[in-house]
């Protein structure tokens, strides 16, 4: 993120906090942040730095579950899109079989998880994907037949890779984690998930 875009988002965040509310509201926000900082202890791989918000987190917290105003949403999307690192080898599709394992894996990054252990995306927690997996959540849309509906062209591949890499690049304040940007998944894991969604042999597209 460039310095100028960071400053721009910060200013917008101040506007969001300022228009909807009074000075008192800012005071409560400051007290909430202080309460938070004093209420956690570092544990395992989860340090207190996880409570330090970036601009996107700050703005999306301030809108309190609502959709941010258009110009603010556009700014969030623009700055997040700029973070996406596409594979240097130009190949966006990995192995859908590995992708399915990553989509099933719920462990990773919790203070209770072993630091060297598996880190998954747990896609099924929120999305329907392969029709044979009945235990899927509904926080996100169904992705069954994702590739069948969209085709498998380079543009779709790039969009899909980028969406997994940084969901906020396309939907400001999305509920979906920014798997690449926040270092949750490796580039190869994101390629494998892209294949799970787009490969014509993937169960998602049957």
């Amino acid at each position: 993120m460039t310095l100028s875009s960071r400053v721009a988002i910060f200013a917008l965040s101040a506007i969001v906090a300022g228009c909807a509310t009074s000075v008192d509201e800012g005071e409560i926000a400051a007290k909430a942040t202080a309460a938070l900082k004093g209420s956690f202890r570092p544990s395992g791989q989860a340090g207190l730095d996880r409570l330090d918000q970036d601009e996107t987190q700050r703005v999306c917290s301030a809108v309190a579950g609502k959709v941010p105003p258009k110009e603010i949403a556009a700014k969030i999307e623009q700055t997040n899109l700029a973070t996406v690192r596409y594979p240097a080898d130009g190949k966006l599709l990995g192995d859908w079989k590995n992708g399915e394992k990553i989509a099933q894996e719920g462990r990773g990054m919790q203070f209770s998880d072993s630091p060297g252990g598996p880190v998954g995306a747990n896609c099924y927690a929120c999305h329907q994907l392969s029709p044979t997996e009945l235990s899927f959540g509904t926080i996100g849309p169904s992705l069954y037949r994702y590739g069948k509906q969209r085709g498998n062209g380079v543009d779709v591949q790039r969009y899909t890779f980028a969406k997994i890499y940084n969901s906020e690049a396309f939907t400001a304040c999305s509920n979906m984690p920014r798997f690449g940007h926040k270092g949750i998944l490796s580039e190869q894991q994101i390629k494998d998930l892209t294949a799970l969604l787009l490969d014509s042999a993937s169960p998602v597209n049957q």
Partner: protein, 268 residues
């Protein structure tokens, strides 16, 4: 007698999953809960907690009979349905668990570290006195309407901080409480998620804690519920009795106002 009923319920649980073959999973889980309700193993914690409440304990060898949970010294009946609240003696808003620690320190002479060193139990190896006491006090509020006041300025402040924290996105995954608990009719995998921003959702969720968790063989308190939500949010470890824990409890308890308190419950 109560212990026997609970033991029978535990035995029934071992065979119950075999009965799940038909109907939607959510329906079957609802039936399962209803079937177990009459013999909720939470009673084991309630009985132990009642004994702990009445027993002379700690360096000062006194009971908790003089503990004021908000309705006067020693008044247990219905107290939980009006917590958290501001306590002038501590000059702080407290939830039940924090207040119990306060009483153990002030009345029984425990050090604060000793009183809260074991907030969550783990089966037979590690029993938690706080968990048992919480089960007893909450069971004495069953049926009482939730009536959490925002009359003291510090109660209002705790509520508003709790609301802010509910929307606080952080950690590696950008999760806030609202990520999972801000919309109706959503679920994680097959687990239904209450929308805690609505009165109905907050009422249904808040009034059913503490709960005996069948999958864990353990009674879980509301402090534990928050602790484990934050673990899954990829946050660091929530400190027991911390300001954030109490503020969030205040926000959710107050949103549940009007509904009859219905715990300790039993959950999957």
């Amino acid at each position: 007698m109560m212990v026997l009923r609970a033991a029978l319920a535990l035995a029934a649980m071992a065979i119950a999953p075999a009965l799940f073959a038909q109907g939607s999973t959510a329906d079957e889980i609802a039936k399962y809960r209803a079937a177990l309700r009459d013999g909720n193993p939470a009673e084991l914690w309630e009985v132990r907690g009642e004994a702990l409440w009445k027993q002379k304990r700690g360096p000062k060898q006194v009971t908790l009979g003089g503990c004021d949970l908000g309705l006067g010294a020693g008044v247990v009946k219905g107290a939980y349905a009006q917590l958290p609240r501001y306590f002038a003696d501590a000059d702080r808003v407290m939830d039940l668990e924090t207040r119990l620690v306060w009483c153990m320190v002030q009345l029984q002479g425990y050090t604060e570290a000793d009183a809260k060193k074991n907030p969550f139990g783990s089966g037979n190896e590690k029993k938690s006195d706080l968990e048992a006491l919480t089960a007893y006090i909450t069971s004495e509020a069953r049926g009482a309407p939730m009536k959490v006041a925002l009359s003291h300025p510090k109660e209002v402040e705790a509520y508003r901080i709790g609301e802010k924290l509910f929307f606080f996105r952080g950690g590696t995954h950008d999760f806030a409480c609202a990520t999972c608990h801000g919309e109706d009719g959503k679920r994680i995998r097959l687990q239904d998620l209450p929308n805690l921003m609505t009165a109905e959702g907050a009422q249904k969720a808040y009034t059913s804690w503490p709960a005996y968790r069948v999958s864990q063989g353990e009674l879980r308190t509301f402090e534990w519920r928050l602790y484990d939500c934050f673990r899954q949010q990829r946050f660091p470890e929530l400190v027991f009795g911390s300001d954030a824990a109490i503020a969030l409890t205040m926000y959710l308890a107050r949103n549940a106002n009007g509904a009859p308190y219905d715990g300790p419950a039993i959950k999957r």
